[in-house]
Symmetry: C2
Subunit: 193 residues, 2 copies
DNA sequence: AAAAATACGGAACAATCGTTCCTGAATTAG
DNA sequence: CTAATTCAGGAACGATTGTTCCGTATTTTT
C-alpha cells in the first residue's frame, strides 16, 4: 500500500561521493547536496538522516568500491609487479586528466576529519589495514613467483607502496600537473621491488 | 603620540598556525581564533584583516620556518644521507609523540584548500618547488660524496623523498600510532638511496 | 475507492558563521 | 595636560549553516 521509491539510493550516494570528494565535508553545504543529488531537502533527510550520516555512508561506499577494484586486480593477476605498475599508472593518469582534481576521497577525509570524528577514524583505520593486507598478499605472491625482490619483507614493501600511493594522491590534490614528477616517483618506487 | 602594541604580531601568528594546523581553515571559527590568540575581536581584525588573510599569513610563516629548518640542516651536513635519515626519524617521532596529531600544516592545507583557493595553491606550489630544489641539491651532494647511490638521478630521488615525506604526514594525521609502520616505510625509502 | 507511503517545494527554525561597529579604559608622545 | 593610538568587551550585523515541518501532489497496494 505504499508508493515505490523513485530514486536509487546507491545512485544518490554516488553523487554524494562526488561532491564530498570534491569539496570536503565542511566545504559542502546542505544546499550543495540538494542541488547535486537532485533530491528535495525532505527526501534527503528522510532517506539519509543528517549530513554526517550521509557523509559516513558515502565514504564507506567509496571504500568498498576502491578496495574491490584493487583487490580483484591483484588477486587475478599473474604478474603482480606489472599489475601494481598498472595501478600506479592509472592513478597518475587520473591525476593528470581530471580537470577537477579530487585526489583520493579517503586521503582527503582522513586529513580533514580523522582526528575530529571517531567514526571516520575507524573507517580510515580499517581501510589502511585492508589495503596493507591486500598489498602484502600481492607482494608475497610476486616474491614467490620471482617477480619481486625478496630483499625486503612483504609487509615492509606493502606499507611502502601504500605510502607512496597516498603521497601521489596528495600531489594530485595539490594540483600537480607535471607528468614527470609522477613518473619519477613511480620509477623510484619500483626500483625497490 | 600613540600607544604601543602590547602583543607581538609574530607570536600571534604562531598561535594562529597552531589552531589552523589543528582544526583546518573551515574547522576554525572566528571565536576559536579570538580565544586561542588571546586578542579581542577588534584587535584581531584590525591587525590581520580577515580570516583568509590571517590564514594565508600563517601558512606563509609556517612554510618559511619549515623550509629554513630543513635547508640549514642539509646545507651544513657532512653526510647528507644520515641527515636525511635524521629528518625522517624526527618526523616519525613527532607523529608518534604528539598527543594531538596535526600532521603537516602544508599537506593539510593543500588537501583542504589548494583546489579552491588560488593563493593557497600558489604557496603550495612554491613550497613543492623549493623542497624539490633543496632535496635535489642535497642528494647531489650525497652522490658526489659517495654516500648515496647514483643509480637514479638526483631529481628523481628528491621527488621520491618528498613524496614519502608527504605520505608519512598523512599517516600521522590519520592517527597511525604504530611505530613499525613508520619504520618500515623509512627502511624501504632508504634502501633506494 | 480508500489508505498508505513517497516525493516535492518551500517556509521556517535556531544556531553559528565572519565581520563591523561602538564604548570606554589604558597607554604613549608631544 | 592633551591628543593620539591601541586595547578589550560586547552588542549587533546580515548571511549562511544544518535541520525540521507543513501542505500537497503522486503513486502504489489493498
Amino acid at each position: 500500500m505504499a508508493r515505490t521509491k523513485e530514486f536509487n539510493e546507491d545512485q544518490a550516494l554516488d553523487k554524494a561521493i562526488e561532491i564530498f570528494w570534491h569539496k570536503g565535508y565542511n566545504g559542502t553545504s546542505a544546499q550543495d547536496l540538494v542541488t547535486h543529488l537532485g533530491l528535495s531537502r525532505s527526501s534527503l533527510y528522510d532517506t539519509f538522516g543528517d549530513k554526517q550520516q550521509l557523509f559516513t555512508k558515502s565514504l564507506q561506499r567509496y571504500q568498498q568500491q576502491a578496495q574491490d577494484a584493487v583487490k580483484e586486480l591483484l588477486e587475478k593477476s599473474e604478474n603482480v609487479k606489472e599489475t601494481l605498475q598498472a595501478i600506479f599508472k592509472q592513478a597518475v593518469i587520473e591525476s593528470l586528466e581530471d580537470r577537477i582534481t579530487k585526489g583520493c576521497f579517503m586521503v582527503n577525509s582522513s586529513v580533514e576529519l580523522a582526528m575530529h570524528d571517531e567514526e571516520i577514524a575507524k573507517i580510515v583505520k580499517s581501510n589502511s589495514q585492508t589495503m596493507e593486507e591486500v598489498f602484502t598478499n600481492a607482494v608475497q605472491k610476486g616474491q614467490e613467483a620471482g617477480h619481486i625482490s625478496k630483499q625486503l619483507d612483504a609487509k615492509v614493501l606493502a606499507r611502502f607502496i601504500f605510502n607512496n600511493y597516498s603521497g601521489i594522491r596528495v600531489l594530485a590534490r595539490a594540483g600537480e600537473r607535471n607528468k614527470e614528477v609522477y613518473d619519477d616517483i613511480v620509477k623510484a618506487v619500483f626500483s625497490v621491488l
